[in-house]
Subunit: 104 residues, 2 copies
């Protein structure tokens, strides 16, 4: 699944935030706060796994999910050119940083 689509649902973003703040979690744990069924959570998690945003491994009867934020980089890079228009200073530094990176 496309990373942009993966991030387009508020529930999925919430799951990502939970994994970010609280570390690896099971399906049960991830669903605890949410007002939707376990199966709905599972579906969202499966999409996140397909998008490579989340790694799932089995630990006994539990499926443990770990966040892998790397694919989000693609979104950040797509956003970058437009950023010039909302914060010039930030954009200049990003550009500077980009040049430094080329010189490595």
């Amino acid at each position: 699944m496309d990373i942009f689509t993966a991030l387009s649902d508020p529930v999925r973003r919430q799951l990502i935030e939970a994994l970010w703040q609280r570390g690896p979690l099971s399906i049960k744990q991830l669903g605890e706060g949410l007002p939707i069924s376990r199966q709905a959570i599972t579906k969202h998690l499966n999409m996140l796994v397909k998008a490579k945003l989340v790694n799932a491994r089995y630990c006994g009867k539990e499926r443990i999910h770990e966040l892998n934020p790397k694919p989000m980089e693609k979104v950040a890079l797509w956003l970058q050119p437009f950023a010039e228009q909302w914060d010039d200073r930030l954009s200049r530094l990003k550009t500077y940083l980009g040049e430094q990176h080329e010189q490595d």
Copy 2:
């Protein structure tokens, strides 16, 4: 419409890129390269307008569309915390910049 959803479709991202690179354009002009009907383009543009990403004004019989990248800031800000994991140096500078910003 939610900004994340607005950005989740590849055609809409293409429209945004076209407006970014070529400036204000009509529906006709925006559809010229694309393999879909004018009405499909119109629908996408209407969604972008709802998401405040695009301003539309009438100029005679043409509807002219202009890009407003500001709402994308929200996405960039959501992405920011996770960025630490894919580029430490960039993240440190972003953090530094954030602090500078606070001191203004």
